[in-house]
Each structure stands twice: as structure tokens, then as C-alpha cells.
């Protein structure tokens, strides 16, 4: 365990550097970026917003980290977010007085269940039918949004049931409630993967599925499991997304989140080639992505060039993680080698 920790610490170093650099930029150039006040009994400020708004991506990133560790990818999570949001909104219903159609916990449970089913569908395609992950999940990423539209009758469903607002808008001990959900999920995932052999098995499957099978690991079940888990994470993320704006928008909920989340995982140090994974790294990656977005809003970057700025930051953070690049910058020119 100690070894795992020290390794992941080394890996997490560069993502943290990148985050720090972004923060420093804001410290100098964005007025009041770090000001935190207390309003309505909770903390209020850009930094708090970043944590709060990063939660949906963080939740997705947790699931995706495990999927990517098995050398897979899940591009359907954005659509599953929309489905989950749609289901929970339809079950709670748009009653103006805020009386839920079905009890809120049931509605949430149902939404998460549907998401897990979606994840299991992906898992089945990948592990049993043997489809390539990107194609298997492409199916649901296309069809899923359609399903979300069908569930919501293509309307934005507005919610007025107060207690449900807690998930995405509420505060607990002064901090956004959603961050506790993230913390709980990460803690649980870390426990399950690192205090049991699951993490090792996932990595083994990602590195060499055949060898894993020969070593007595049920690779298929592991694959199935990580996609189902990714569905679960997307489902929870969908609840938070729905609660944040108290509405479900089949068209736009979770749109493009899959790319942000994949980006977060990769920025966090987990390789798209599978193998070793870093949960905390993924969280830092998600924070980088969200800090960037918030910076663009707060700094007042014109929308026309916002995308260019994002591209540049993604590039720089990726380069920072490249061993070759660091070696180059450090002046070790000409030390070219092939690892065989």
C-alpha cells in the first residue's frame, strides 16, 4: 500500500503542478478570484464554484478511470447523464408546489438503476460480444440521447421539489453538498479497489487480458463490472446535474461531458493504454478542466477565442506530463531511446 501511494504521488505531481499554474494565473490576473465570503450560511466564491461545478465531471471521471485502466473507453456517459436526469425529473414531476409524484429517494434510485442498466449494456457488448469499447459505447452515446428525449417527451422538465435541490445546490458544513457525494464515491472506490485485489485485477486485465485469464482472473466479469460501474457513476452524476439546475434537459444535459471526463482522467495520469490507474489524479484532472472553464468566464475571455485557450491549456498540460518533453526542457537533448 505504501508503495502504491508513493507511486501515485509521483504520478499526481504533474497534474497538481498544472493546476497550481492555472491558479497562479488567476491569482495575478483575475480580480477577486480567490475571495471567499460567507453568504447565506455557506462559503461563496469562485473556488467554491469550481469544486461544485466540477462534481459532475469528477463523478464521471471516477468511473472512467476504471474503464480506461482496462484499456477501454466509455463515450456514452454524457448520454447516460441525460437519461438519469430525465428519469429522475419525470418521476419527481414538475408540480409547482413541489410535491413529488413519487418519493424522491425512489425516483433517485430508479434513475441510478436505469443508468446501471445502461452501463451493463455497454459491459455486455464489450465483455461478452467482444466489441471494441469505443464503438460499443458509441451506440449508447447516439441512442442514449434519443432515449433521454423520449423519457422527457422532448421537453425541459422543471422541478420544484425543494429537498431534491440539496444534491446539486445545497450546502453542508459550509461546503457544496455535491462535493461530499464525490468524496464518498471516491473513498468507496479507493477502498474497494485498493483494499481488495480488484484494483490489481483491473490493471492486470488492462495490461494483458489473455495473461489475466490464464492467471485465473475472470477478465470478462471485470470488464462487465467496470462498465456497469461507469454507468452507476454517470447515473449519480446525472442526479447532481439535474439538481443543479432543477431541470432535466434531454438535449443538453451532460452534452460533451464524456470528452471532459476522459480529458480529466488522462490529465490525471492514467494512460489510455490501460494499466495503472490514479483516482486522485483523475479528480485533479477534473479540477483542471473546471478551473479552466471558470477562469474563462471570470477572466472575461471572449467566447470567440475561449476554445483556442482551452486547446492551448490541454496541450501544455499534456506536454507537462510527457517524460520526453520534460527531459527536453531540462536540457537532456539527444537522449533518444526506444523502450523495447
Amino acid at each position: 500500500m505504501a508503495i502504491l501511494k508513493s507511486l501515485s504521488r509521483a504520478k499526481i505531481f504533474w497534474p497538481i503542478v498544472a493546476l497550481a499554474v492555472l491558479m497562479c494565473f488567476n491569482l495575478f490576473f483575475t480580480p477577486n478570484f480567490f475571495r471567499v465570503e460567507i453568504k447565506e450560511g455557506h462559503l461563496y466564491g469562485n473556488v467554491i464554484d469550481i469544486i461544485k461545478n466540477a462534481s459532475p465531471i469528477m463523478l464521471l471521471a471516477v468511473g472512467l478511470t476504471l474503464v480506461i485502466a482496462t484499456k477501454g473507453i466509455d463515450i456514452s456517459v454524457g448520454s447516460i447523464v441525460a437519461i438519469s436526469a430525465g428519469v429522475v425529473a419525470m418521476l419527481i414531476g414538475g408540480d409547482l408546489q413541489g410535491v413529488p409524484k413519487y418519493p424522491i429517494p425512489y425516483a433517485m434510485g430508479a434513475a441510478v438503476l436505469v443508468s446501471v442498466l445502461a452501463g451493463m449494456w455497454n459491459g455486455m457488448l464489450v465483455s461478452r460480444i467482444g466489441m471494441q469499447p469505443i464503438i460499443a459505447t458509441l451506440i449508447l452515446s447516439v441512442a442514449g440521447r434519443g432515449i433521454a428525449m423520449v423519457t422527457t417527451n422532448a421537453m425541459i422538465v422543471w422541478l420544484y421539489a425543494k429537498p431534491f435541490a440539496l444534491l446539486g445546490q445545497g450546502y453542508f458544513l459550509g461546503l457544496p453538498f455535491s462535493i461530499y457525494i464525490v468524496a464518498a464515491l471516491v473513498l468507496l472506490t479507493a477502498l474497494v479497489t485498493r483494499r481488495t485485489a480488484l484494483g490489481l485485477f483491473i490493471e492486470a486485465v488492462g495490461i494483458n487480458p489473455t495473461a489475466a485469464r490464464f492467471a485465473g482472473i475472470n477478465a470478462k466479469n471485470i470488464l462487465f463490472g467496470v462498465y456497469a460501474f461507469s454507468g452507476l457513476c454517470a447515473g449519480i452524476s446525472g442526479l447532481v446535474v439535474c439538481s443543479t439546475v432543477m431541470s432535466a434537459d434531454g438535449n443538453n444535459a451532460g452534452l460533451g461531458y464524456e470528452l471532459s471526463a476522459i480529458l480529466a482522467v488522462v490529465l490525471g495520469g492514467t494512460s489510455l493504454n490501460g494499466g495503472k490507474f490514479y483516482l486522485l489524479g483523475s479528480l485533479v484532472g477534473a479540477l483542471i478542466v473546471q478551473t479552466l472553464t471558470t477562469t474563462i468566464y471570470a477572466f472575461g475571455v471572449p467566447p470567440e477565442i475561449a476554445k483556442v485557450v482551452i486547446a492551448m491549456v490541454v496541450l501544455v498540460v499534456s506536454l507537462l506530463q510527457s517524460f520526453k518533453f520534460r527531459a527536453m526542457v531540462a536540457g537532456f537533448f539527444g537522449k533518444r531511446e526506444f523502450s523495447v
Binding site: D49, W158, M246, D249, N252
Partner: protein, 303 residues
């Protein structure tokens, strides 16, 4: 034209289903045509892609439809395919969004709303309202933040332009921040959160659609301010959620942009089949809703 009373096949190329407004539009057209058994509607969703629209129109021509209903995603670039329709003798009726000047000869008419005008209406309403509550003395700066629609989309560009036109009469109005919220509630909220932290004083929020306005309202509330009072909230579209917000006093106004174009479209095509001449432009009937008339209108809203 064909003899009256005959069954007609109508091809309808819709932009997509990117917003609830658009869906309402689609459903309105579909219902209107389905109610009349002498029409068969062939509907095609372009999923916000111009190329898909061109393909759809080509397929309509191959399918030999009698008339094409067409909502253009962008203004330009449909010339060649409209030319093909003309060669095939199929009339094209634009709905909601028109094509550019040079190609207008290739279509019969346009029915729909005017995004620039919506922006102008919003600015005009704001002028009146500020005068009414006595907040605008013509000198003191009025700080406005703007939530833009999807960068580059026609409603975003036009509603921005329209509002800017309206602002010309008010030198003390200032747009302090303007950022895209991509027409979505979630991004509208996130952007507004950042605005609120960066600027001490925001008087007015102008959102290019109600969805973003509703998201921003939540952000304003979280900042401990009162939407509709501390910050004047202006939206466009007139969706149900906005009416509810106006009734609750959290949004001040919504500029209607009616999607219910179906009945008008059916009527126009019937006229066409009967050999009548259509006017070059058919306007939709639209109004503006604020605290004075929203509550009364709310029960009748369909979307």
C-alpha cells in the same frame, strides 16, 4: 400546380431537436398536417447539420414530394439544392428561418419570427421598464450582462444585434460582460456564477433564451440576491418555465418567439394547392410577456 383536393406529400426539413422551442415547433407542424388526411408529411431531422438538410431536400426531390417546407439552419449555401428543387418543379416554403438574399428567388415565401426584432423588443421593454421604476436617469451607468446563445448561431447573432440596436438610444447602458451559455440552463448558471463574482454591480441580465435566464436566476439566488429585483432578468422565447418564473417574480420579462407555426403552415400550403398566390412574407403573431400579462397567459401555454 396540381388540381385541388388531391392528396399532397409534404417534405419538411427541420433543423434538429436542439431545444424545447424547436421540439414545440416540430410537433406543431406535425400535428397540423396529420389532422388533415389530404396531406402526408415526410419529416426529416437534420440534427443541426446543414449537410443533412441538403441531403434531405435531395431525397425529397427523389421522392417527388409536392412541396417542401424548409427551416434553414444557416442563411447561406442552399442555392444548388434549391435550384434542383426548382428544376424539378417543387415549390419551397421557408419556415422560421430564411435563406440569404441571393437565393430568395428560389423559394416561395417565408413564415416566422424575426430574431433581430426580438432583441430590439427586449431593449425597448427595458427602456420603458427602467423609466417606470425610475432607475434610469439617462446618466447613471446601467450595467448589463449578456448570456449569449451558441456562438455563431443565427438567433445568438441576431438577438445580440437587435439588443445592440436598441441600446443606441441609451448611451449610459453598458454591456459589462458577455459570454456564451450555449442556450443551456446549466451553462447559463455557471457563467452567471462567475459574472456575479467578478462584478460588484450588475443591474440587468439579458439572456438570449429563457433556459439560460432560468439557470442564471438560480445563480443569482445562490449569491444572496433577489432575481427580478436586484437584477432585472430578461429572457427570450416565452417557454412555460419563464412564465412560471415571471409569476413568481424572479424573471421580469420574456420576449415571445412563437414556435407554433403548424396551423399557419398548413393554411399556406392549402392556399398553394388551391392555386392561390402566397404573400412574400408571413409573420407569426408574437407578443411580449411581463408581470402585467404573464399570469393570465400561463394556463394557455402549450410548451
Amino acid at each position: 400546380a396540381k388540381p385541388a383536393g388531391k392528396n399532397w406529400v409534404v417534405g419538411f426539413s427541420q433543423i434538429g431537436s436542439e431545444s424545447e422551442w424547436r421540439t414545440a415547433d416540430t410537433i406543431s407542424v406535425q400535428n397540423a398536417f396529420n389532422e388533415d388526411p389530404s396531406f402526408t408529411l415526410i419529416y426529416s431531422d437534420a440534427q443541426q447539420k446543414q449537410e443533412n438538410q441538403i441531403k434531405a431536400v435531395r431525397s425529397f426531390i427523389a421522392r417527388k414530394v409536392n412541396v417542401i417546407l424548409f427551416t434553414a439552419l444557416v442563411e447561406t449555401g442552399y442555392g444548388p439544392v434549391l435550384q434542383e428543387a426548382k428544376q424539378a418543379g417543387i415549390p419551397v416554403v421557408m419556415i422560421d428561418r430564411d435563406v440569404q438574399e441571393a437565393d430568395r428567388g428560389l423559394r416561395l415565401t417565408i413564415m416566422g419570427s424575426d430574431f433581430v426584432k426580438e432583441g430590439e423588443k427586449a431593449a425597448a421593454w427595458l427602456g420603458d421598464y427602467l423609466k417606470k421604476i425610475g432607475k434610469d436617469d439617462g446618466k447613471k451607468a446601467i450595467n448589463i450582462v449578456e448570456l449569449q446563445g451558441t456562438t455563431g448561431s443565427a438567433p445568438a447573432i441576431d438577438r445580440k444585434t437587435g439588443f445592440a440596436n436598441g441600446m443606441k438610444d441609451h448611451p449610459n447602458w453598458k454591456i459589462t460582460r458577455s459570454q456564451t451559455g450555449n442556450f443551456t440552463t446549466a451553462e447559463g448558471k455557471a457563467v452567471m456564477e462567475a459574472f456575479l463574482k467578478a462584478d460588484k454591480k450588475i443591474d440587468v441580465l439579458y439572456a438570449h433564451n429563457d433556459g439560460m435566464a432560468l439557470g442564471a436566476i438560480q445563480a443569482i439566488k445562490e449569491a444572496g440576491l433577489k432575481p427580478g429585483k436586484d437584477i432585472i432578468v430578461i429572457g427570450v422565447d416565452g417557454v412555460k418555465g419563464a412564465f412560471q418564473a415571471i409569476v413568481a417574480g424572479e424573471q421580469n420579462v420574456t420576449v415571445e418567439c412563437s414556435p407554433l407555426l403548424g396551423p399557419q403552415a398548413v393554411q399556406a400550403i392549402r392556399d398553394l394547392r388551391d392555386g392561390k398566390k402566397l404573400p412574400g412574407r408571413i409573420w407569426t403573431i408574437e407578443s411580449i410577456f411581463d408581470a402585467s400579462n404573464a399570469a393570465a397567459a400561463l394556463p394557455t401555454r402549450q410548451y
